[in-house]
Symmetry: D2
């Protein structure tokens, strides 16, 4: 990912970047991919009927992370309120997905990795929201 490089060359930014927001953008894109992958892996498990809620939360989390990542990337206008609301939604989606994935982490390695990714993204969203003052 080239998040830092791209944002630092933005005409409104000119070198001074919010590193916490950049970290958050990277986690959002990464978590969107991880959740999409975890949903597909869950669909391949023999006991898929025990993982349907996990799959739904994976899909929700992937959608919300992707939108949060795009909105936060487009941060240079005066859209702070939309970013804040999306960071809050993303934190919620990541927490719910992490809680569910953690329940399956001892049986399914993909759920363990996905739970970790969601927890990192949840925390990155919290810190980015705080950094916006």
């Amino acid at each position: 990912m080239h998040v830092q490089q791209m944002i630092s060359t933005h005409p409104h930014v000119q070198g001074s970047t919010n590193d916490v927001l950049i970290q958050c953008i990277e986690e959002c894109y990464s978590c969107a991919q991880t959740c999409t992958s975890c949903a597909d892996a869950c669909l391949g498990e023999k006991m898929v009927e025990q993982l349907t809620q996990c799959i739904r939360l994976n899909l929700d989390c992937a959608d919300v992370c992707a939108a949060a990542g795009s909105v936060a990337t487009r941060r240079t206008g005066s859209n702070e309120q939309v970013i804040r609301a999306m960071l809050a939604a993303c934190e919620t989606a990541c927490r719910q997905c992490a809680e569910e994935c953690e329940r399956h982490a001892s049986h399914h390695e993909h759920c363990r990795i996905c739970a970790e990714s969601c927890r990192r993204c949840e925390q990155a969203c919290q810190e980015a929201a705080r950094s916006m003052g």
Copy 2:
């Protein structure tokens, strides 16, 4: 759109549907399309440099509406918290985009139509949030 038809045949729903949520899903998909179209129309205007903030809010609103529409469609699990957070984010994105589009509505018909679409979606999100108790 077949939102009502699809949700009423969901095994967990069995005929009794939340009409306010269905209306909200339709407005989210419709507003995502309208905002994508308005951004492109703004990019085609001669005075595009006066419309850059409008384009950004259009793009934000399109991303948030699309994610809100997907999450709300997937309402049958116990993901109420994620839906609520996304309805709040969508209401914010629609309001901000509507306010900006309204400033250009007398000069650009696409902004006038888009502002109306955003206002309808903003209200549908409010009402859907209220209907969830």
Copy 3:
């Protein structure tokens, strides 16, 4: 949806619209919603382990339809090659999803409706591609 209204007010279009492309855009957004809904309904069925391939194709089709709808909405530049490639991808995704949904249509009403939506979108993509000469 306000596809026709929005495109007809685009500064590059000025009233003369490609009705076949407009129909295609509407089907793409509608099919994206229907496939997202069908995946969630399949996840709620008791025999979910027989529907995992259907869910995957639903999710693929939803992603491809959403992207095709956005790209086709943004048709006013000289991006014809991208639109063509996305119409081809969307036709493929819709056909594959329709074939799978049709296998479950007699047992699950949501699959029957979804198959119809995919077939309409498949055909609309074909016709839109043809209309672009």
Copy 4:
């Protein structure tokens, strides 16, 4: 990104992964972010009216890369035809966006970085398509 880790723990994959496809998935997510960022940076430039086609191709490329990344992540079913069609669409979108960004690369550093990202993604899509036989 945890693409390799996630795919290698998928129940259908069990350790043997297609490294070329994994590379492609990473480039798709990365390029989606870069193009979203380049569109926003272009919107911040004084000479935005000279960059409108660049912004459109950035937005197209971001949408197509995001969808291609999701579909390729969900590779474990028998959806090879959809993946192939999306890899072809993504290659086209990346090439067109790269060609346009290269025209502005000497004036705008964000366009230079974005062109490179698009070229890497274009090549990764080509190689992934070839690796699928």
